[in-house]
């Protein structure tokens, strides 16, 4: 099975990942090849098998409702590409 150009562009859009025309062609080839190899899993009978999300099987880890120090706002903003008045500055969402 080979992914179409539209499928590659659709996935890129879901991932908010800009691609060049060259990337699209390369990913069509490479992703199709990798996905074909994943077909091997269809051979495995997984009837009545529960999925494993993580190996420790921990459930609902709670913490004590205790006040602890957190980072200072200036430290949080120190790496921000754009900031204003103690906030992260973002592009307009609505036009």
């Amino acid at each position: 099975m080979k992914l179409t150009r539209e499928e590659v562009l659709h996935i890129a859009r879901l991932a908010r990942l800009g691609l060049t025309e060259e990337d699209v062609g390369r990913f069509r080839e490479q992703l199709s090849n990798i996905l074909d190899n994943f077909e091997i899993l269809q051979q495995v009978d997984t009837m009545d098998v529960l999925p494993t999300a993580q190996p420790l099987a921990l459930k609902n880890v709670m913490r004590n409702d205790k006040v602890t120090p957190s980072l200072a706002p200036d430290d949080i903003l120190a790496n921000a590409p754009r900031q204003e008045g103690g906030c992260f500055r973002v592009r307009a969402v609505l036009e």
């Binding site: 908010r16 990337d23 992703l31 899993l41 098998v49 999925p51 190996p55 420790l56 120190a78 790496n79």
Partner: protein
Amino acid sequence: MPDNLAELTIHQAHELLKGRQLSSVDLTRAYLERISKVEPEVQAFVTVTDELALKQAEAADRLLAGNGANPLAGVPVLIKDVMCTKGVRTTCSSKILENLVPPYDATVVERLKACNAVIIGKANMDEFAMGSSTENSAFFTTRNPWDRSRVPGGSSGGSAAGVAAGEAVYALGSDTGGSIRQPAGFCSVVGFKPTYGRVSRYGLVAFASSLDQIGPLTRDVADCALVMNAIAGYDSRDSTSAPEPVPDYTRCLNAELKGMRIGVPREYFVKGMQPEVDKAIKAGIEQLEKLGAEIDWEVSLPHTPYALAVYYIIAPSEASANLARYDGVKYGFSYQAPTMWESLEKTRQYGFGAEVKRRIMLGTYALSAGYYDAYYLKAQKVRTLIRREFDRAFEKYDALITPTSPTVPFKIGEKIDDPLQMYLSDICTLPVNIAGLPAISIPAGFADGLPIGMQIISKPFGEETILKVAHVYEQSTDWHKRRPPL
């Protein structure tokens, strides 16, 4: 004072420091000199933290004047650039984080600092720990100290090469599918991936959260136990951290192998495996038999061939979610376009390298509507079967032994254009992460001067069994004493 400080282990350095035959400042200076000498050839470091290291060395010297200093006190360590270091650039070898200076330390870094360790630098890696060769670093490729035309392995290639080349006494790495063990095997050092949850992931930049685990890369097994003593244990800031008590791992050293049941799973001696690797690992297992272990050569783990597909669905799926945070707003590289969507897409287009994009695409596809059940859910179910198979094996065996990698280090450039071939170099290490098990890679021989690693796997929280087997084997060989020609 020994002639070559670059060959010291932690325990040897500690004896010298404690006996005041050597100061931490002198040791640190010697390592900084070694770095300036060999780094042009090896390129293991993204950042050398010389000022910080000398300041920490001075503090360690004051402490070492008294009694009871931690064995790690005053000893130079290299940290993979995926763990946050307060005030020190943490890049993940990615353009998108090239200038990130974290406002806090990862828990492991905090713990090393509490032991008065000397942080000498941040190690190069495959971008976001995705890769098996460091060729995916956005900055440069680290060279294998044993042969500079070959890769050091990855993703913790800088950590492994730095320790092998004598640029640090030990290092921390992270392992999602083999990223500590495979480079340890390729560089002939000890590399340990603890049980999932054994070491806190707080401050480790996330790749695949259900698989990632931090661990040590050291010159011998005793050092590995010392570092584990410092970094293992529960941390309330990582909700997947295990509340299990931490033993003193140095008690596993100099144990007896009599009665130890070791299994050899045949699926790990795969087609396409290099004959020299096959021979070296089998010789290693025979050596363990002579040392008193009971070997079963006929173990079968029939779901092993599915591990690669399971891993390359689950890891990219988790990565695609984890890497959604890189939006150019809060930190990191930010492309300024007129609209929000364009800024976001361009930030990620120019900020991420080819392999990271490939995995984001793969993961997004596996999680997308219509494909989730066939890929992601199916992989999670097969994950259950792989874990069950290991659980059953560990009812009969204390440990399993396999090669760390099917080949010796490959040439730089050899696999970079063929992602599937690259993925196959982790074929022996991936199943361990899928099942959340502990495993070590220890030096087990050479083929034409290129290192071979042997992997020892045990059940969850079976770190002690692994260290016992590894130490007895190591002490009966001198592979770990060989140093690369630099």
